[in-house]
Amino acid sequence: MSGLLIHLRAAPTLLRIGFAEMVAYRAEVAVWILTATLPLVMLALWSAAADGGTLGSFSQDDFVRYFAVILVVRQVTSAWLVWELNYNVRTGALSPMLLRPLNPLWWNLAETVGALPLRIIVLSPILAVLIWWKPQIALLPSAATFFLGCVSVFLAFVLAWLVQAVFGMLAFWYEQSVGLYNLWFVAVALLGGYVIPMDLLPSSIVPLARVLPFHSALGAPVEVWLDATPDPCRTLALQAVWVAVTATAAWFMWGRGLRRYGAVGA
């Protein structure tokens, strides 16, 4: 049986156990989710700055809607692969995983997906409070926007996870791979729409920022959901290109990295 088929056959069990593991860690996961609420801080800041009027094209309600969606997209595209890979490579904990005939990254992906229901449960009351505060933000998207938004969030999830894989794999060569990932995240925050909506960036850098991977990993799906992108199909295509580029880099680095791991000590 081919390796891919075995990976697919194993997926339901991996997902179930990944979810069971997250339920066992529910308190820690909930606290971790709640620490990633920077969008709520930004929501408060930008709303206060708009102060009943508008900033650029954003009204106060637009800010609430934007950062509510950022909060959700950020949560459902979160992963911890970079920390896990870094730790496992540096301590040798990767070794027992490499002895099994299934790629250890596949198991991490199952754990990450397994955590999604818990993330949604923790997010629900926060969203409920936001909607109670500003009922007008709860706009139902059209069927087309809903579909494109789901695809875009999926691509952002895959891209964010692959980016963490790439940075995590740097641990095969370099001890401070987590530090480099933090630099990536700073770029996502500034150029990807996490703390500043793309439309409020200086107009000279917006065209460039829109084609960079930081935007594809976070801002793009938010804009697709809010129907705020002129050409959603182009946005999705760009996301797919970045997924392909990152997947190729991850595939290449995994092979090279394992050779190095096998050469210098495991």
């Binding site: 194993a10 156990i17 069971a20 860690y25 070794s95 490499l98 495991a266």
Partner: protein, 334 residues
């Protein structure tokens, strides 16, 4: 089946001139050393394994001995495909381990006493289920094997407890179960009894022997507990400073290193002091050359007719101590 099987048809494990050299950066002390290290890195070569060759046949149980840092774990990691050799050839079940082919990984296991694969916060049963999926085991076969292992290791009461709540011994039993659920043909065991109490050590030993007897699995075992090696293996490989320095039976080693026997009288008999016995925890103990033992026993029975007498080989750990001391003296005559 890979073509290499035809080249080396007999041995399950065939190691030829295996070497592993690590390139280790030299960190100079002090701030100036650290600053210099930023620009110019110097390295030294560490020869962890050097020119090691041996073969192990199907179903053999072999003990792999040596002091800390001798190269045992490095060799096991190369045999299981985790480390790439610097030079030399390895064949395990006809595969080249470093290629880490799935068909190879399905037939081996490596238990590392100091590393765990069990998921910490959920019951061990879930890790077993995870391994079933990862090894793509048939559900009926998996259940049969698990039932068998649960019975062999008496696990039924602990299967559903979170791993974090298990004792060290219980955890090791679950680790072993997870490691052999796929019925590997070759078991690499690196310190499987480390930190366990005596009773648990006995149980793990019994389990390993059972696996070997029932499934014909080939076993290569390292342990600092010589009782593990003595109880489980008849053939010993000794490695020191990366070089294989002994490959043979325990009896041959005893003849070479400690040809005498230990005579033990299990009670205090002062009359035996004159025969060279010394008191040891209420017993009388001495050693004698093999050809002198019968004469000594006759004399002991004459002086203490009702005494309970035992004759033993020199324990393996003492043999090892003597062996490495003699090698050290040869290396460093001063």
């Amino acid at each position: 089946m890979p073509s290499r099987v035809a080249l080396w048809p007999l041995a399950v494990i065939d190691v030829r001139q295996l070497s592993k050299t690590y390139r280790v950066p030299i960190k100079e002390p002090g701030l100036s050393g650290s600053l210099r290290g930023l620009f110019v890195r110097r390295y030294r070569d560490v020869h962890a394994v050097a020119d090691v060759s041996f073969k192990i046949e199907q179903g053999e149980r072999v003990g792999f001995l040596g002091p800390n840092g001798a190269g045992k774990t490095t060799t096991l990691k190369m045999l299981s495909g985790l480390l790439h050799p610097t030079s030399g050839d390895i064949s395990v079940l006809g595969f080249t381990p470093k290629e880490r082919k799935n068909d190879f990984l399905r037939q081996i296991t490596l238990v590392m006493g100091q590393k765990q694969q069990l998921l910490w916060d959920i019951p061990a049963r879930e890790t077993f289920e995870l391994n079933r999926a990862m090894y793509d085991l048939d559900r009926a076969d998996y259940r049969r094997t698990l039932d068998e292992l649960v019975e062999m290791l008496r696990l039924s009461d602990i299967l559903d407890k979170p791993v974090r709540n298990l004792s060290l011994g219980e955890r090791m039993k679950c680790e072993l179960t997870a490691a052999v659920l796929h019925r590997p043909r070759v078991l690499f065991l690196d310190e499987p009894t480390i930190g366990l109490d005596v009773e648990m050590q006995l149980e793990v030993r019994r389990f390993i022997a059972d696996l070997n007897n029932r499934f014909g699995a080939t076993v290569l075992l390292t342990s600092h507990y010589m009782q593990d090696i003595a109880a489980l293996t008849s053939r010993i490989l000794i490695i020191d400073h990366g070089r294989l320095c002994y490959d043979g039976s325990r009896e041959e080693l005893a003849q070479r290193i400690a040809p005498e026997r230990r005579v033990i009288v299990r009670q205090h008999v002062p009359a035996l002091l004159a025969l060279g016995f010394v008191e040891d925890h209420g017993r009388m103990v001495t050693t004698a050359a093999v050809d002198q033992v019968n004469m000594l026993l006759e004399e002991v029975m004459r002086r203490a007719p009702s005494a309970e007498i035992g004759v033993e080989e020199v324990p393996l750990d003492e043999m090892m101590t003597r062996y490495f001391r003699s090698r050290g003296e040869r290396r460093d005559p001063s």
